[in-house]
Protein backbone atom coordinates (compact mmCIF):
# COMPACT_ATOMS: atom_id res chain seq x y z
CA UNK A 1 0.00 0.00 0.00
CA UNK A 2 2.21 2.86 -1.18
CA UNK A 3 -0.25 5.73 -0.59
CA UNK A 4 -2.02 6.22 2.72
CA UNK A 5 -4.07 9.33 3.52
CA UNK A 6 -5.06 8.31 7.04
CA UNK A 7 -3.76 9.97 10.18
CA UNK A 8 -2.32 7.87 12.98
CA UNK A 9 -4.13 7.57 16.28
CA UNK A 10 -1.66 10.04 17.88
CA UNK A 11 -2.07 12.49 15.01
CA UNK A 12 -5.83 12.42 15.50
CA UNK A 13 -5.38 13.05 19.22
CA UNK A 14 -2.92 15.85 18.43
CA UNK A 15 -5.43 17.39 16.02
CA UNK A 16 -8.19 17.14 18.63
CA UNK A 17 -5.95 18.81 21.22
CA UNK A 18 -4.97 21.64 18.86
CA UNK A 19 -8.59 22.12 17.74
CA UNK A 20 -9.84 22.31 21.29
CA UNK A 21 -7.01 24.62 22.31
CA UNK A 22 -7.75 26.92 19.36
CA UNK A 23 -11.45 27.06 20.20
CA UNK A 24 -11.17 27.48 23.96
CA UNK A 25 -7.96 29.48 24.40
CA UNK A 26 -7.21 31.40 21.17
CA UNK A 27 -10.60 32.18 19.64
CA UNK A 28 -12.02 34.10 22.62
CA UNK A 29 -9.04 36.52 22.73
CA UNK A 30 -8.07 36.81 19.05
CA UNK A 31 -9.96 40.02 18.36
CA UNK A 32 -8.79 41.66 21.58
CA UNK A 33 -5.07 41.13 20.86
CA UNK A 34 -5.55 42.13 17.24
CA UNK A 35 -6.96 45.45 18.41
CA UNK A 36 -4.36 45.97 21.14
CA UNK A 37 -1.48 44.97 18.84
CA UNK A 38 -0.01 43.06 21.76
CA UNK A 39 1.58 39.61 22.20
CA UNK A 40 -0.83 37.31 24.12
CA UNK A 41 1.52 35.91 26.77
CA UNK A 42 -1.24 34.00 28.60
CA UNK A 43 -1.84 32.06 25.36
CA UNK A 44 1.90 31.38 24.94
CA UNK A 45 2.07 30.14 28.53
CA UNK A 46 -0.83 27.77 27.93
CA UNK A 47 0.71 26.55 24.67
CA UNK A 48 3.77 25.66 26.71
CA UNK A 49 1.65 23.93 29.37
CA UNK A 50 -0.01 21.60 26.88
CA UNK A 51 3.28 20.94 25.10
CA UNK A 52 2.51 22.64 21.79
CA UNK A 53 5.21 25.32 22.04
CA UNK A 54 8.60 24.56 20.46
CA UNK A 55 7.41 20.99 20.04
CA UNK A 56 9.74 20.31 17.08
CA UNK A 57 12.67 20.17 19.49
CA UNK A 58 13.78 16.52 19.68
CA UNK A 59 13.11 14.47 22.78
CA UNK A 60 16.81 14.29 23.73
CA UNK A 61 16.73 18.07 24.31
CA UNK A 62 13.49 17.99 26.24
CA UNK A 63 11.07 18.56 23.36
CA UNK A 64 8.42 16.41 21.75
CA UNK A 65 10.22 15.74 18.46
CA UNK A 66 7.20 16.63 16.34
CA UNK A 67 7.58 15.79 12.67
CA UNK A 68 6.58 18.20 9.92
CA UNK A 69 3.31 16.38 9.28
CA UNK A 70 2.40 16.69 12.98
CA UNK A 71 3.33 20.35 12.83
CA UNK A 72 1.06 21.12 9.88
CA UNK A 73 -1.84 19.32 11.55
CA UNK A 74 -1.41 21.58 14.58
CA UNK A 75 -0.75 24.67 12.45
CA UNK A 76 -4.00 24.47 10.54
CA UNK A 77 -5.98 24.23 13.79
CA UNK A 78 -4.25 27.10 15.60
CA UNK A 79 -4.39 29.40 12.56
CA UNK A 80 -8.11 28.67 12.19
CA UNK A 81 -8.58 30.66 15.40
CA UNK A 82 -5.96 33.35 14.71
CA UNK A 83 -3.16 33.42 12.14
CA UNK A 84 -1.42 36.23 14.02
CA UNK A 85 -1.26 34.21 17.23
CA UNK A 86 -0.17 31.09 15.34
CA UNK A 87 2.73 33.07 13.85
CA UNK A 88 4.29 33.32 17.32
CA UNK A 89 5.00 29.56 17.80
CA UNK A 90 5.58 29.20 14.05
CA UNK A 91 8.28 31.91 14.04
CA UNK A 92 9.83 30.29 17.11
CA UNK A 93 10.16 27.06 15.11
CA UNK A 94 11.73 29.16 12.36
CA UNK A 95 14.40 30.25 14.84
CA UNK A 96 14.88 26.71 16.15
CA UNK A 97 15.26 25.09 12.72
CA UNK A 98 18.75 26.46 11.84
CA UNK A 99 20.01 25.16 15.20
CA UNK A 100 18.51 21.74 14.41
CA UNK A 101 20.01 21.75 10.91
CA UNK A 102 23.47 23.15 11.62
CA UNK A 103 24.04 23.29 15.37
CA UNK A 104 26.52 20.98 17.11
CA UNK A 105 25.62 18.84 20.11
CA UNK A 106 26.73 21.45 22.65
CA UNK A 107 24.79 24.23 20.89
CA UNK A 108 21.63 22.14 20.69
CA UNK A 109 21.82 21.45 24.41
CA UNK A 110 22.62 25.05 25.29
CA UNK A 111 20.00 26.74 23.05
CA UNK A 112 17.16 24.24 22.70
CA UNK A 113 16.76 22.77 26.18
CA UNK A 114 15.83 26.10 27.86
CA UNK A 115 13.05 26.59 25.29
CA UNK A 116 11.37 23.43 26.54
CA UNK A 117 11.55 24.31 30.23
CA UNK A 118 9.48 27.52 30.24
CA UNK A 119 7.29 29.53 27.87
CA UNK A 120 10.07 30.99 25.72
CA UNK A 121 10.59 31.84 22.06
CA UNK A 122 13.29 31.86 19.39
CA UNK A 123 13.61 34.09 16.32
CA UNK A 124 15.23 34.16 12.89
CA UNK A 125 16.75 37.34 11.45
CA UNK A 126 17.55 37.49 7.74
CA UNK A 127 15.70 40.47 6.16
CA UNK A 128 17.12 43.97 6.47
CA UNK A 129 15.67 47.45 5.86
CA UNK A 130 17.26 47.48 2.40
CA UNK A 131 16.87 43.87 1.33
CA UNK A 132 14.43 41.02 1.65
CA UNK A 133 14.07 38.85 -1.42
CA UNK A 134 17.71 39.50 -2.39
CA UNK A 135 18.89 37.85 0.80
CA UNK A 136 22.51 37.49 -0.33
CA UNK A 137 22.80 41.29 -0.46
CA UNK A 138 22.66 41.57 3.32
CA UNK A 139 24.72 44.32 4.92
CA UNK A 140 24.87 43.31 8.58
CA UNK A 141 28.62 42.83 9.18
CA UNK A 142 30.39 40.28 11.34
CA UNK A 143 34.11 40.83 11.95
CA UNK A 144 36.15 38.14 13.69
CA UNK A 145 38.19 39.36 16.68
CA UNK A 146 39.82 36.52 18.59
CA UNK A 147 37.12 34.37 20.19
CA UNK A 148 34.32 36.75 19.16
CA UNK A 149 32.52 38.18 16.18
CA UNK A 150 31.74 41.89 16.35
CA UNK A 151 28.29 42.38 14.86
CA UNK A 152 27.00 45.64 13.36
CA UNK A 153 23.85 46.29 11.35
CA UNK A 154 20.05 46.27 11.34
CA UNK A 155 17.52 43.49 10.74
CA UNK A 156 13.92 44.17 9.77
CA UNK A 157 10.51 42.47 10.10
CA UNK A 158 11.72 39.99 12.70
CA UNK A 159 8.84 38.03 14.27
CA UNK A 160 9.37 37.42 18.02
CA UNK A 161 12.56 39.54 17.74
CA UNK A 162 11.90 41.40 20.99
CA UNK A 163 10.54 38.43 22.93
CA UNK A 164 13.00 35.74 21.85
CA UNK A 165 15.55 34.20 24.23
CA UNK A 166 17.93 34.22 21.27
CA UNK A 167 17.91 35.15 17.62
CA UNK A 168 19.70 33.44 14.73
CA UNK A 169 21.27 36.39 12.89
CA UNK A 170 22.64 36.09 9.38
CA UNK A 171 25.56 38.45 8.74
CA UNK A 172 28.26 38.86 6.13
CA UNK A 173 31.99 38.54 6.69
CA UNK A 174 32.61 40.08 3.27
CA UNK A 175 29.76 41.62 1.21
CA UNK A 176 31.67 41.02 -2.04
CA UNK A 177 31.40 37.30 -1.52
CA UNK A 178 27.58 37.63 -1.51
CA UNK A 179 26.00 34.35 -0.37
CA UNK A 180 29.41 32.72 0.13
CA UNK A 181 30.33 35.29 2.78
CA UNK A 182 27.37 34.69 5.13
CA UNK A 183 27.69 33.41 8.69
CA UNK A 184 24.87 32.34 11.06
CA UNK A 185 25.28 33.57 14.64
CA UNK A 186 23.08 32.97 17.67
CA UNK A 187 22.67 36.26 19.55
CA UNK A 188 21.25 35.94 23.03
CA UNK A 189 18.73 38.35 24.55
CA UNK A 190 20.43 40.98 26.69
CA UNK A 191 23.77 40.88 24.86
CA UNK A 192 25.17 44.45 25.12
CA UNK A 193 24.62 46.50 21.98
CA UNK A 194 21.62 44.43 20.84
CA UNK A 195 18.25 46.22 20.82
CA UNK A 196 14.79 45.35 19.51
CA UNK A 197 12.32 48.04 18.46
CA UNK A 198 8.71 47.00 17.95
CA UNK A 199 7.15 47.85 14.60
CA UNK A 200 3.68 49.34 15.05
CA UNK A 201 0.80 49.89 12.68
CA UNK A 202 0.69 46.49 11.00
CA UNK A 203 -2.30 45.73 8.79
CA UNK A 204 -2.81 42.24 10.21
CA UNK A 205 -1.25 39.54 12.38
CA UNK A 206 -1.14 42.21 15.03
CA UNK A 207 -0.91 39.77 17.94
CA UNK A 208 2.51 38.66 16.77
CA UNK A 209 5.36 41.01 17.68
CA UNK A 210 7.38 42.20 14.70
CA UNK A 211 10.67 43.99 15.35
CA UNK A 212 13.54 45.93 13.96
CA UNK A 213 16.73 44.58 15.51
CA UNK A 214 19.71 46.85 15.93
CA UNK A 215 23.25 45.55 16.51
CA UNK A 216 25.95 47.99 17.61
CA UNK A 217 29.34 46.41 18.27
CA UNK A 218 27.68 43.29 19.65
CA UNK A 219 30.24 40.70 20.83
CA UNK A 220 29.07 37.21 19.84
CA UNK A 221 31.19 34.26 21.04
CA UNK A 222 32.57 32.04 18.28
CA UNK A 223 30.85 29.09 20.06
CA UNK A 224 27.54 30.67 18.95
CA UNK A 225 28.30 30.24 15.24
CA UNK A 226 26.15 27.64 13.50
CA UNK A 227 28.14 25.63 10.96
CA UNK A 228 31.19 27.17 9.34
CA UNK A 229 31.92 30.64 8.03
CA UNK A 230 30.34 30.94 4.59
CA UNK A 231 27.65 28.32 5.31
CA UNK A 232 25.14 30.83 6.65
CA UNK A 233 23.25 31.37 3.43
CA UNK A 234 22.78 27.65 2.84
CA UNK A 235 21.55 27.25 6.43
CA UNK A 236 19.03 30.07 5.93
CA UNK A 237 17.70 28.60 2.67
CA UNK A 238 17.48 25.03 4.01
CA UNK A 239 15.60 26.42 7.01
CA UNK A 240 13.08 28.30 4.87
CA UNK A 241 12.59 25.28 2.62
CA UNK A 242 11.17 23.54 5.68
CA UNK A 243 9.42 26.33 7.55
CA UNK A 244 7.38 27.47 4.56
CA UNK A 245 5.33 24.32 5.00
CA UNK A 246 3.74 25.50 8.28
CA UNK A 247 2.97 28.84 6.57
CA UNK A 248 0.98 26.81 4.04
CA UNK A 249 -0.75 24.94 6.87
CA UNK A 250 -1.68 28.20 8.57
CA UNK A 251 -3.11 29.46 5.29
CA UNK A 252 -5.31 26.35 5.02
CA UNK A 253 -6.57 27.08 8.54
CA UNK A 254 -7.49 30.66 7.60
CA UNK A 255 -9.24 29.47 4.43
CA UNK A 256 -11.23 26.89 6.39
CA UNK A 257 -12.31 29.57 8.81
CA UNK A 258 -13.33 31.85 5.93
CA UNK A 259 -15.47 29.08 4.49
CA UNK A 260 -17.09 28.27 7.85
CA UNK A 261 -17.94 31.92 8.49
CA UNK A 262 -19.21 32.44 4.95
CA UNK A 263 -21.30 29.26 5.06
CA UNK A 264 -22.87 30.21 8.37
CA UNK A 265 -23.71 33.70 7.19
CA UNK A 266 -25.04 32.55 3.81
CA UNK A 267 -27.50 30.21 5.51
CA UNK A 268 -28.78 32.91 7.87
CA UNK A 269 -28.83 35.97 5.68
CA UNK A 270 -31.92 36.37 3.53
CA UNK A 271 -32.38 38.29 0.30
CA UNK A 272 -35.24 38.18 -2.17
CA UNK A 273 -37.18 36.11 0.34
CA UNK A 274 -34.71 33.28 0.83
CA UNK A 275 -31.33 32.48 2.39
CA UNK A 276 -28.54 33.72 0.11
CA UNK A 277 -27.01 30.22 0.27
CA UNK A 278 -29.76 29.21 -2.17
CA UNK A 279 -28.22 31.35 -4.92
CA UNK A 280 -25.69 29.83 -7.26
CA UNK A 281 -23.60 33.01 -7.16
CA UNK A 282 -22.98 32.28 -3.48
CA UNK A 283 -22.77 28.50 -3.89
CA UNK A 284 -20.02 28.83 -6.50
CA UNK A 285 -17.97 31.00 -4.17
CA UNK A 286 -18.34 28.46 -1.37
CA UNK A 287 -17.48 25.60 -3.72
CA UNK A 288 -14.37 27.44 -4.94
CA UNK A 289 -13.25 27.91 -1.33
CA UNK A 290 -13.72 24.21 -0.72
CA UNK A 291 -11.71 23.34 -3.84
CA UNK A 292 -8.90 25.57 -2.61
CA UNK A 293 -8.90 24.21 0.93
CA UNK A 294 -8.94 20.53 -0.04
CA UNK A 295 -6.22 20.84 -2.66
CA UNK A 296 -4.01 23.13 -0.58
CA UNK A 297 -4.27 20.83 2.44
CA UNK A 298 -3.43 17.74 0.42
CA UNK A 299 -0.42 19.40 -1.14
CA UNK A 300 0.74 20.78 2.21
CA UNK A 301 0.59 17.27 3.64
CA UNK A 302 2.58 16.04 0.66
CA UNK A 303 5.30 18.67 1.16
CA UNK A 304 5.41 17.80 4.87
CA UNK A 305 5.64 14.10 4.04
CA UNK A 306 8.60 14.75 1.71
CA UNK A 307 10.35 16.73 4.46
CA UNK A 308 9.71 13.93 6.99
CA UNK A 309 11.04 11.31 4.57
CA UNK A 310 14.23 13.33 4.13
CA UNK A 311 13.46 13.72 0.42
CA UNK A 312 14.08 16.93 -1.58
CA UNK A 313 11.24 19.31 -0.70
CA UNK A 314 12.33 22.85 -1.69
CA UNK A 315 10.02 23.07 -4.70
CA UNK A 316 7.15 21.30 -2.93
CA UNK A 317 7.31 23.64 0.06
CA UNK A 318 7.39 26.60 -2.36
CA UNK A 319 4.31 25.29 -4.22
CA UNK A 320 2.46 24.61 -0.96
CA UNK A 321 3.25 28.03 0.51
CA UNK A 322 2.43 30.07 -2.60
CA UNK A 323 -0.69 28.11 -3.47
CA UNK A 324 -2.16 27.85 0.03
CA UNK A 325 -1.59 31.52 0.83
CA UNK A 326 -3.25 32.53 -2.44
CA UNK A 327 -6.34 30.34 -2.08
CA UNK A 328 -6.60 31.55 1.53
CA UNK A 329 -6.42 35.21 0.54
CA UNK A 330 -9.08 34.60 -2.08
CA UNK A 331 -11.24 32.67 0.41
CA UNK A 332 -11.02 35.55 2.90
CA UNK A 333 -11.79 38.02 0.12
CA UNK A 334 -14.88 36.07 -0.99
CA UNK A 335 -16.00 35.60 2.62
CA UNK A 336 -16.08 39.40 2.93
CA UNK A 337 -17.96 39.63 -0.36
CA UNK A 338 -20.58 37.16 0.86
CA UNK A 339 -20.97 39.16 4.08
CA UNK A 340 -21.42 42.39 2.10
CA UNK A 341 -21.20 45.48 4.32
CA UNK A 342 -21.04 43.32 7.45
CA UNK A 343 -17.84 41.77 6.11
CA UNK A 344 -16.21 45.17 6.05
CA UNK A 345 -16.54 45.88 9.78
CA UNK A 346 -14.76 44.42 12.78
CA UNK A 347 -17.91 43.06 14.41
CA UNK A 348 -17.60 40.14 12.02
CA UNK A 349 -14.41 38.10 11.91
CA UNK A 350 -13.87 37.95 8.15
CA UNK A 351 -12.09 41.27 7.55
CA UNK A 352 -9.39 40.15 10.02
CA UNK A 353 -8.87 36.94 8.04
CA UNK A 354 -7.97 38.98 4.96
CA UNK A 355 -5.70 41.37 6.88
CA UNK A 356 -3.94 38.45 8.58
CA UNK A 357 -3.47 36.16 5.61
CA UNK A 358 -2.07 38.89 3.35
CA UNK A 359 1.19 38.41 5.24
CA UNK A 360 1.28 34.73 4.30
CA UNK A 361 1.88 35.85 0.71
CA UNK A 362 4.85 37.94 1.84
CA UNK A 363 6.81 36.40 4.71
CA UNK A 364 9.21 33.46 4.59
CA UNK A 365 9.86 34.36 0.96
CA UNK A 366 7.33 36.30 -1.12
CA UNK A 367 5.17 34.27 -3.46
CA UNK A 368 7.20 35.73 -6.32
CA UNK A 369 10.35 34.20 -4.81
CA UNK A 370 8.44 30.91 -4.43
CA UNK A 371 7.75 30.98 -8.16
CA UNK A 372 11.46 31.55 -8.83
CA UNK A 373 12.27 28.48 -6.72
CA UNK A 374 9.67 26.44 -8.59
CA UNK A 375 10.85 27.68 -12.01
CA UNK A 376 14.51 26.97 -11.22
CA UNK A 377 13.53 23.48 -10.16
CA UNK A 378 11.59 22.76 -13.32
CA UNK A 379 14.14 24.30 -15.68
CA UNK A 380 17.00 22.40 -14.04
CA UNK A 381 15.45 19.06 -15.00
Amino acid sequence: MPIDFSLTEEQRQLQALARRFAKEVILPVAQEYDEKEEVPWPVIEKLHEVGLLNAIIPEEYGGMGLKMLDEVIVGEELAYACMGIYTIPMASDLGITPVLLAGNEEQKRRFLKPLTEKPALAAFALSEPGNGSDAAALKTRAVRQGDYYILNGTKMWISNGGEAEWVVVFATLNPELRHKGVVALVVEKGTPGFRAVKIHGKMGQRASGTYELIFEDVKVPVQNRLGEEGEGFKIAMNTLNKTRIPVAAGSVGVARRALDEAKKYAKEREAFGQPIANFQAIQFKLADMMIGIETARMYTYYAAWLADQGLPHAHASAIAKAYASEIAFEAANQAIQIHGGYGYVREFPVEKLLRDVKLNQIYEGTNEIQRLIIARHLLAE
Binding site: E9, E10, Q13, L14, A16, R20, G51
Partner: protein
Protein backbone atom coordinates in the same frame (compact mmCIF):
# COMPACT_ATOMS: atom_id res chain seq x y z
CA UNK B 1 -5.72 3.28 46.42
CA UNK B 2 -7.38 2.70 43.13
CA UNK B 3 -9.64 5.18 41.34
CA UNK B 4 -11.74 4.10 38.37
CA UNK B 5 -13.42 6.36 35.82
CA UNK B 6 -16.04 4.69 33.62
CA UNK B 7 -16.32 6.49 30.30
CA UNK B 8 -18.19 6.47 27.01
CA UNK B 9 -17.47 7.78 23.56
CA UNK B 10 -20.25 10.00 22.24
CA UNK B 11 -20.87 12.39 19.34
CA UNK B 12 -19.55 15.90 19.84
CA UNK B 13 -22.42 18.20 20.83
CA UNK B 14 -21.77 20.29 17.71
CA UNK B 15 -21.92 17.34 15.33
CA UNK B 16 -24.78 17.22 12.93
CA UNK B 17 -26.62 13.92 13.24
CA UNK B 18 -28.57 12.29 10.46
CA UNK B 19 -31.10 9.52 10.41
CA UNK B 20 -30.39 6.77 7.92
CA UNK B 21 -32.80 3.84 7.72
CA UNK B 22 -34.47 4.53 11.09
CA UNK B 23 -31.07 4.73 12.81
CA UNK B 24 -28.79 7.58 13.85
CA UNK B 25 -25.93 7.71 11.38
CA UNK B 26 -22.70 8.54 13.20
CA UNK B 27 -20.44 8.27 10.15
CA UNK B 28 -20.15 12.04 9.74
CA UNK B 29 -19.96 12.86 13.44
CA UNK B 30 -16.89 13.70 15.48
CA UNK B 31 -16.79 11.28 18.40
CA UNK B 32 -15.31 12.38 21.69
CA UNK B 33 -14.86 11.36 25.30
CA UNK B 34 -18.22 12.22 26.92
CA UNK B 35 -17.78 15.62 28.58
CA UNK B 36 -19.67 14.48 31.68
CA UNK B 37 -17.23 11.58 31.98
CA UNK B 38 -14.29 13.99 31.62
CA UNK B 39 -15.12 15.34 35.07
CA UNK B 40 -14.80 11.78 36.38
CA UNK B 41 -11.44 11.28 34.69
CA UNK B 42 -10.20 14.60 36.09
CA UNK B 43 -11.41 13.73 39.59
CA UNK B 44 -9.72 10.31 39.47
CA UNK B 45 -6.47 12.02 38.46
CA UNK B 46 -6.76 14.60 41.25
CA UNK B 47 -7.51 11.91 43.84
CA UNK B 48 -4.50 9.93 42.66
CA UNK B 49 -2.27 13.01 42.74
CA UNK B 50 -3.42 13.74 46.31
CA UNK B 51 -3.57 10.27 47.81
CA UNK B 52 -1.33 8.19 45.54
CA UNK B 53 -2.25 4.88 43.94
CA UNK B 54 -3.56 4.13 40.50
CA UNK B 55 -6.11 5.74 38.14
CA UNK B 56 -7.82 3.40 35.68
CA UNK B 57 -10.14 4.23 32.82
CA UNK B 58 -12.81 1.69 31.88
CA UNK B 59 -14.72 2.10 28.63
CA UNK B 60 -17.67 0.19 27.21
CA UNK B 61 -18.50 0.32 23.53
CA UNK B 62 -17.44 -0.54 19.98
CA UNK B 63 -13.80 -0.70 18.79
CA UNK B 64 -13.71 3.04 18.17
CA UNK B 65 -14.23 3.64 21.91
CA UNK B 66 -10.50 3.03 22.21
CA UNK B 67 -9.94 6.62 20.98
CA UNK B 68 -11.82 8.01 23.98
CA UNK B 69 -9.87 5.68 26.29
CA UNK B 70 -6.63 7.00 24.75
CA UNK B 71 -7.81 10.56 25.40
CA UNK B 72 -8.25 9.68 29.08
CA UNK B 73 -4.81 8.04 29.09
CA UNK B 74 -3.38 11.20 27.48
CA UNK B 75 -4.94 13.21 30.31
CA UNK B 76 -2.89 11.03 32.67
CA UNK B 77 -4.82 7.86 33.55
CA UNK B 78 -2.43 4.96 34.16
CA UNK B 79 -4.07 2.18 32.17
CA UNK B 80 -7.28 1.29 30.40
CA UNK B 81 -9.77 -1.55 30.14
CA UNK B 82 -12.02 -1.70 27.11
CA UNK B 83 -15.11 -3.89 27.17
CA UNK B 84 -15.82 -4.30 23.48
CA UNK B 85 -19.41 -4.45 22.27
CA UNK B 86 -20.68 -3.33 18.89
CA UNK B 87 -24.11 -1.70 18.85
CA UNK B 88 -26.42 -0.33 21.49
CA UNK B 89 -26.59 -1.66 25.04
CA UNK B 90 -28.86 -0.26 27.73
CA UNK B 91 -27.31 1.06 30.97
CA UNK B 92 -28.35 -1.94 33.08
CA UNK B 93 -26.70 -4.31 30.61
CA UNK B 94 -23.59 -2.10 30.51
CA UNK B 95 -23.42 -2.13 34.31
CA UNK B 96 -23.71 -5.92 34.39
CA UNK B 97 -21.01 -6.22 31.74
CA UNK B 98 -18.65 -4.01 33.74
CA UNK B 99 -19.43 -5.41 37.21
CA UNK B 100 -17.15 -8.51 37.08
CA UNK B 101 -14.23 -6.43 35.83
CA UNK B 102 -14.75 -3.76 38.46
CA UNK B 103 -15.07 -6.41 41.19
CA UNK B 104 -11.78 -7.90 40.14
CA UNK B 105 -10.08 -4.48 40.21
CA UNK B 106 -11.67 -3.75 43.60
CA UNK B 107 -11.28 0.05 43.41
CA UNK B 108 -11.52 2.59 46.24
CA UNK B 109 -14.25 4.34 44.29
CA UNK B 110 -15.81 4.61 40.83
CA UNK B 111 -16.64 7.80 38.96
CA UNK B 112 -18.84 8.17 35.91
CA UNK B 113 -20.72 10.98 34.16
CA UNK B 114 -24.09 12.01 35.60
CA UNK B 115 -25.65 11.49 32.23
CA UNK B 116 -24.67 10.24 28.83
CA UNK B 117 -24.66 12.47 25.79
CA UNK B 118 -25.75 9.70 23.43
CA UNK B 119 -28.61 7.64 24.84
CA UNK B 120 -29.38 10.01 27.67
CA UNK B 121 -30.47 7.76 30.51
CA UNK B 122 -28.76 9.14 33.66
CA UNK B 123 -28.89 5.51 34.78
CA UNK B 124 -25.39 4.11 34.43
CA UNK B 125 -24.10 5.33 37.82
CA UNK B 126 -27.07 3.88 39.67
CA UNK B 127 -27.02 0.66 37.67
CA UNK B 128 -23.30 0.20 38.38
CA UNK B 129 -23.86 0.69 42.11
CA UNK B 130 -26.69 -1.83 42.03
CA UNK B 131 -24.65 -4.40 40.12
CA UNK B 132 -21.76 -4.02 42.57
CA UNK B 133 -23.90 -3.78 45.70
CA UNK B 134 -22.35 -0.45 46.75
CA UNK B 135 -23.83 3.00 47.45
CA UNK B 136 -24.19 5.72 44.85
CA UNK B 137 -23.96 9.51 45.16
CA UNK B 138 -25.40 11.25 42.11
CA UNK B 139 -24.53 14.64 40.58
CA UNK B 140 -21.43 15.17 42.72
CA UNK B 141 -19.88 18.65 42.84
CA UNK B 142 -17.30 18.03 45.60
CA UNK B 143 -15.59 14.92 46.89
CA UNK B 144 -13.22 14.30 49.84
CA UNK B 145 -11.77 11.02 51.07
CA UNK B 146 -11.67 10.40 54.80
CA UNK B 147 -10.35 6.84 55.13
CA UNK B 148 -13.10 4.23 55.05
CA UNK B 149 -15.64 6.84 53.99
CA UNK B 150 -15.99 9.82 51.69
CA UNK B 151 -17.72 13.15 52.08
CA UNK B 152 -19.48 14.41 48.98
CA UNK B 153 -21.63 17.33 47.98
CA UNK B 154 -24.39 16.66 45.53
CA UNK B 155 -26.92 18.82 43.82
CA UNK B 156 -30.63 18.66 44.43
CA UNK B 157 -33.24 20.32 42.27
CA UNK B 158 -33.09 23.62 44.12
CA UNK B 159 -30.21 23.20 46.53
CA UNK B 160 -27.38 20.92 47.57
CA UNK B 161 -26.44 18.62 50.42
CA UNK B 162 -23.31 17.09 51.90
CA UNK B 163 -23.39 13.37 52.49
CA UNK B 164 -21.06 10.76 53.99
CA UNK B 165 -20.83 7.40 52.29
CA UNK B 166 -18.96 4.16 52.98
CA UNK B 167 -16.39 3.18 50.35
CA UNK B 168 -16.29 1.70 47.81
CA UNK B 169 -19.04 3.74 46.20
CA UNK B 170 -20.07 5.10 42.83
CA UNK B 171 -20.09 8.86 42.27
CA UNK B 172 -21.70 10.40 39.23
CA UNK B 173 -20.01 13.57 38.03
CA UNK B 174 -21.03 16.85 36.47
CA UNK B 175 -19.96 20.39 35.75
CA UNK B 176 -18.77 22.19 38.86
CA UNK B 177 -16.84 19.24 40.29
CA UNK B 178 -13.58 20.35 38.68
CA UNK B 179 -12.07 21.84 35.53
CA UNK B 180 -10.86 18.96 33.33
CA UNK B 181 -7.29 19.33 32.06
CA UNK B 182 -6.19 19.09 28.45
CA UNK B 183 -4.71 15.86 27.19
CA UNK B 184 -1.25 17.43 26.67
CA UNK B 185 1.11 16.59 23.84
CA UNK B 186 3.53 14.77 26.19
CA UNK B 187 0.47 12.96 27.54
CA UNK B 188 -0.59 11.90 24.03
CA UNK B 189 2.92 10.56 23.36
CA UNK B 190 2.99 8.64 26.65
CA UNK B 191 -0.53 7.32 26.14
CA UNK B 192 0.46 5.21 23.16
CA UNK B 193 2.71 3.12 25.42
CA UNK B 194 0.05 2.60 28.09
CA UNK B 195 -1.83 -0.67 28.35
CA UNK B 196 -5.43 -1.09 27.21
CA UNK B 197 -6.82 -4.49 28.16
CA UNK B 198 -9.51 -5.70 25.76
CA UNK B 199 -12.41 -7.76 27.05
CA UNK B 200 -15.19 -8.97 24.74
CA UNK B 201 -18.72 -8.74 26.13
CA UNK B 202 -20.62 -11.88 25.21
CA UNK B 203 -24.05 -10.83 26.48
CA UNK B 204 -26.74 -8.87 24.71
CA UNK B 205 -28.65 -5.68 25.39
CA UNK B 206 -31.93 -6.16 27.25
CA UNK B 207 -33.43 -3.23 25.42
CA UNK B 208 -33.57 -3.24 21.67
CA UNK B 209 -33.85 -0.05 19.64
CA UNK B 210 -36.53 -0.28 16.98
CA UNK B 211 -36.46 3.17 15.47
CA UNK B 212 -34.68 6.44 16.09
CA UNK B 213 -35.73 9.94 15.09
CA UNK B 214 -34.55 13.49 15.71
CA UNK B 215 -36.76 15.79 17.72
CA UNK B 216 -38.16 18.60 15.61
CA UNK B 217 -38.12 21.83 17.54
CA UNK B 218 -40.79 24.22 16.34
CA UNK B 219 -40.76 27.90 17.16
CA UNK B 220 -43.80 29.65 18.61
CA UNK B 221 -43.36 32.48 16.08
CA UNK B 222 -44.61 35.14 18.48
CA UNK B 223 -43.71 38.59 17.25
CA UNK B 224 -44.40 41.78 19.21
CA UNK B 225 -44.77 44.62 16.76
CA UNK B 226 -43.58 47.34 19.17
CA UNK B 227 -45.84 50.08 17.83
CA UNK B 228 -46.54 50.93 21.46
CA UNK B 229 -43.11 50.41 23.12
CA UNK B 230 -44.47 50.46 26.67
CA UNK B 231 -47.13 47.86 25.95
CA UNK B 232 -44.61 45.75 23.99
CA UNK B 233 -42.12 45.77 26.89
CA UNK B 234 -44.85 44.76 29.36
CA UNK B 235 -46.02 41.98 27.09
CA UNK B 236 -42.43 40.77 26.59
CA UNK B 237 -41.84 40.63 30.35
CA UNK B 238 -45.12 38.79 30.81
CA UNK B 239 -44.24 36.21 28.13
CA UNK B 240 -40.74 35.67 29.49
CA UNK B 241 -42.14 35.27 33.01
CA UNK B 242 -45.28 33.27 32.44
CA UNK B 243 -44.66 31.31 29.26
CA UNK B 244 -40.91 30.96 28.85
CA UNK B 245 -40.46 31.00 32.66
CA UNK B 246 -36.94 32.38 32.35
CA UNK B 247 -37.40 35.46 34.56
Amino acid sequence: MKFVAVIRQVPDGESRLRIQGDRVDLSGATLILDQMDEYGVEEALRLKEKHGGEAIVVGFGPERTEEAIRTALAMGMDRGIHVVYEGYADPVTVAEALAPILKEESPTLILTGGQQADWDSQALGGALAEALGVPVVAWTTALELEGETARAKHDLDEGAEWVRVRLPAVFTTQQGLNEPRYPTLPGIMKAKKKEIKKVAFQGASRVEILQESIQEKTRLQKILDGKDPVAAAEELVRLLHEEAKVI
